[in-house]
Symmetry: C2
Subunit: 210 residues, 2 copies
Amino acid sequence: MAYRETEKMRNRKAEARKRIIECTYGCVADGGFRSAQITRIAACAGVATGTIYRHFESKEDLFAEIFRIATQREVDKVAEALSAEDNAVSRLEVALRQFAERALRGPVMAWSLIAEPVDPKVEEERLKFRRAYAQLFEQAIRDGIKEGCLPDQDARQSSTCLVGAIAESLVGPLSPAQADTAEQAETNDHNPLVNSIICFCMQGLTGTRR
Amino acid sequence: MAYRETEKMRNRKAEARKRIIECTYGCVADGGFRSAQITRIAACAGVATGTIYRHFESKEDLFAEIFRIATQREVDKVAEALSAEDNAVSRLEVALRQFAERALRGPVMAWSLIAEPVDPKVEEERLKFRRAYAQLFEQAIRDGIKEGCLPDQDARQSSTCLVGAIAESLVGPLSPAQADTAEQAETNDHNPLVNSIICFCMQGLTGTRR
DNA sequence: ATAAATAGTGAATCATTATTCATTCTTTGT
DNA sequence: ACAAAGAATGAATAATGATTCACTATTTAT
């Protein structure tokens, strides 16, 4: 025997892998999954196209991983907002605002995560992503019901509606055609758009029954 | 001169066009846009692939038209529900139910219209489609505010949230993986899913302020 | 230094479909 | 019947971009 993988090599490979991931992330944040071709990613990462395939089974797998990473960041932020020491209604409100404002701040990535057409494996991740959000909200809603600050309701269904209402409200402002409009939001953190969305959502949660 | 387009020919061409549209509609309703390849559509319509291009500029154009037609049907149904003689709140509730129930009854088409990845030109139609719904709801909300049965609110924003909440709630049940679950709905018109969605939405609209 | 083992390369290949266009078939008016 | 005009055909082409793989380079242990 002559060659055996050594620490040094392992590190180098890990770095290359990391670089590929970062470049893919960058490409997606910049122009969506559509614009992230293997050739471009490879060039950006300073490796040959073939090298990508030493680190990932396929483009779909790479994309799925990028999606997971990007998603995790967002979900973590919302989870953080929901774990504050406060009543459920306030926590939900802060979390919803976090969700919407972050999306408006990174519109291309948000659009990719929410609405860009993607391949099946990535779409699968998207469903998980949405469910992850919904589950966080769902738990908070249950808390709220227990605390008595929310009326009894189908927590799962309400959480799904929350995700939908926010996502839909953002699709317009986020769609590539209107990136400029969204950019304004970057400099304006008292965004009336966000306020209206949250108003509807909070009413949906807290409103009295007819 | 020897040949000039005659009524008979115009009819025949119109029929061919109609047949192409119907077959495309059928393919989409059956397996989504993805499964509607030109070859298959042509075979189904009993014409050569080239013939498709005598009637439509491109596949995208054909799809965009199909999308418009399918959409119009749905939007019309909602518009109908909203034009009833009743107060705005009741009309909105009936319309929302119409929207959701029709989607569950034709899950593949609904999925294609709401969530299937499609090409840019078709995606454009989708945005219009969603806006068309939103506009209908928006007007009804304005009516409701005027009538006094809805509290003052940003009608446009609320309507967008309505569309989002419903669409999101349906994406899970509609996604191709779960076509079977949706089929149950076909035989069960007292669907609890629909009721929960509508409950949230109506609260979002009517709820008291905190 | 040498050889075994693995890593990296990138031009060539493959796969998928939409689209074209040279050709054939139909219709129409004389 | 004939020829002009247009309609229909579908095999061939084009375009795109992911993936492969024969080859070169590098690393390691002796």
